[in-house]
């Protein structure tokens, strides 16, 4: 059945210049606007109010490292060792939800079983190189957070492969890896420049300003599996007999 490495779906050739809106669909009706506004006023949406930072960075498909994307993380801290992030393709109000990333401290990561660790990536390079930025927040303010993040590990599942032109979320979730300073981990200069222009920043200058952020003393080699093994991961879906409680469907 479907896999995360399928060809572009629904006849889309590419994202830019295709002329078709992504996703397809009719514009919002006034009726729906009213329902939504009413709901927003009456419902408390508490988990949304806990989201405390926006990070912009880049990610690479584990099963096809020629494909790199810009990411916008909106993160909630559950405790000092754990962040949960909703990931979007842009920071606009119509940003498309493309996945979820969980971020854990080195302490939590070291306690994971090895089979689990191979699904996670390190963040040291992404922080030190200036690729991860918190838009509009002065570097000096965010520095303690960057020091934490430099020692952290992430697990990022992408559920909407917009870069291959998918007009709707198609296929199985794709595991993502983080940018690294070597080989296929290096993000394309064009991708970085586009981001830099948007926020009027210079990634190289940010990198220089982060020289004092300590490199982790050790990066667990089970993370960033591709660097050691030249292998990535993909998810397949197989039809099976469902364990039932009543007939289905």
């Amino acid at each position: 059945m479907s896999t995360s490495s399928d060809e572009p779906a629904m006849g889309a050739k590419k994202v830019e210049g295709a002329g078709e809106p992504i996703p397809p669909g009719k514009p919002m009706t006034m009726e729906q606007h009213i329902v939504d506004k009413g709901a927003m006023m009456l419902q408390r949406l508490k988990p949304m109010k806990q989201i405390s930072q926006h990070g912009c960075s880049f990610a690479i498909y584990s099963h096809d490292m020629t494909r790199q994307i810009e990411t916008h993380h909106y993160c909630t801290r559950i405790n000092q060792d754990f962040l949960q992030c909703a990931v979007y393709d842009s920071d606009g109000s119509h940003g498309r939800l493309i996945g979820v990333e969980y971020i854990v401290s080195d302490k939590t990561f070291e306690a994971l079983p090895p089979d689990e660790q191979k699904l996670w990536h390190s963040h040291a390079y992404e922080i030190k190189s200036g690729l991860w930025v918190n838009p509009r927040v002065p570097e000096v303010v965010v520095k303690p957070e960057l020091e934490n993040l430099a020692k952290s590990y992430g697990k990022f599942w992408c559920t909407w492969q917009l870069d291959r032109g998918d007009r709707l979320p198609i296929g199985t979730p794709a595991l993502m890896v983080s940018p690294q300073g070597v080989n296929m981990g290096v993000p394309s200069p064009e991708l970085v420049r586009t981001r830099d222009l948007k926020y009027n920043i210079l990634t190289e200058a940010i990198r220089d300003s982060r020289v004092e952020i300590a490199e982790p003393e050790w990066l667990n080699p089970m993370a960033d599996y591709w660097k050691q093994h030249g292998k990535g991961f993909k998810i397949d879906v197989e039809p099976v007999d469902m364990k039932l409680r009543a007939p289905f469907p």
Binding site: P24, D81, K231, P239, F248
Partner: protein
């Protein structure tokens, strides 16, 4: 088992929480500010109906026909982000490639059965939206199996389905939600009798085409740029 396992780790340090108050006040959370709806329902694993999860959807519309939702295990401030759901109209669902359709589930029974609801929303307003949702299809992926007590998001993503008929949902789970949200599924069911599902009826390829679905992790060669095979990765 509790569906709200304690995440291991130290309490958030004061410096960290102050810093995050600062970033939250400086930054704009564009796509998050667009989330304006809380829906509560149940999901079960697409390979195992006996594992059922209370799912709190926080949704935003990308247009009239597409919603994208963050799924949490509770509506409280310390809720765990456990998954994602995309909801599309029947028209868009029909455009999906056939091999994609089994990963999507129908919403008609969840609505008609009274199980899908909007906490805190008056009946008539809720009803307006329920009439629409009943005709849609959803694709739900969970990343965190809180129902088996995982205190961290372990393993690979799971495709989730929704209720499609009587007798699937556990009474204890149903009653617990009814009590906490002061709703009655039976009463709602009665009120929603006349709500209609998809125009063309439930698509036979939706809901796993009638089968269970199981996700499997595969190791693959990293695809090198322009056909070269790098020998050294570090």
């Amino acid at each position: 088992m509790s569906q709200h396992p304690e995440v291991p780790g130290d309490p958030t340090a004061t410096t960290t929480s102050l810093l995050e108050k600062a970033t939250a006040s400086i930054q704009r959370f564009g796509p998050i500010s667009h989330i304006h709806q809380h829906l509560c329902a149940f999901h079960f694993y697409s390979h195992d109906m006996t594992r059922q999860v209370e799912a709190h959807h926080f949704c935003g519309h990308l247009n009239e026909e597409v919603r994208q939702c963050l799924i949490y295990n509770s509506p409280e401030p310390d809720a765990r982000l456990i998954g994602i759901e995309y909801i599309v109209t029947e028209t868009l669902f029909d455009m999906l490639p056939d091999e994609e359709k089994p990963m999507w589930h129908s919403h008609d029974y969840e609505v008609k059965g009274g199980y899908l609801f909007m906490p805190g929303i008056p009946g008539p307003v809720e009803r307006q939206d329920m009439e629409k949702v009943a005709k849609t299809y959803g694709k739900t992926i969970h990343f965190w199996q809180v129902d088996r007590g995982d205190n961290l998001p372990l393993g690979i993503p799971q495709i989730m389905f929704a209720l499609t008929r009587e007798g699937q949902l556990y009474d204890e789970l149903a009653q617990d939600v009814e009590r906490r949200y002061k709703v009655s599924f039976a009463a709602e069911k009665e009120k929603r009798k006349d709500i209609e599902g998809p125009e063309m009826g439930r698509h036979p390829l939706a809901n796993g085409a009638g089968k269970g679905l199981q996700t499997v992790l595969k190791e693959v060669d990293v695809k090198p740029p322009s056909g070269t095979t790098p020998r050294v990765f570090v």
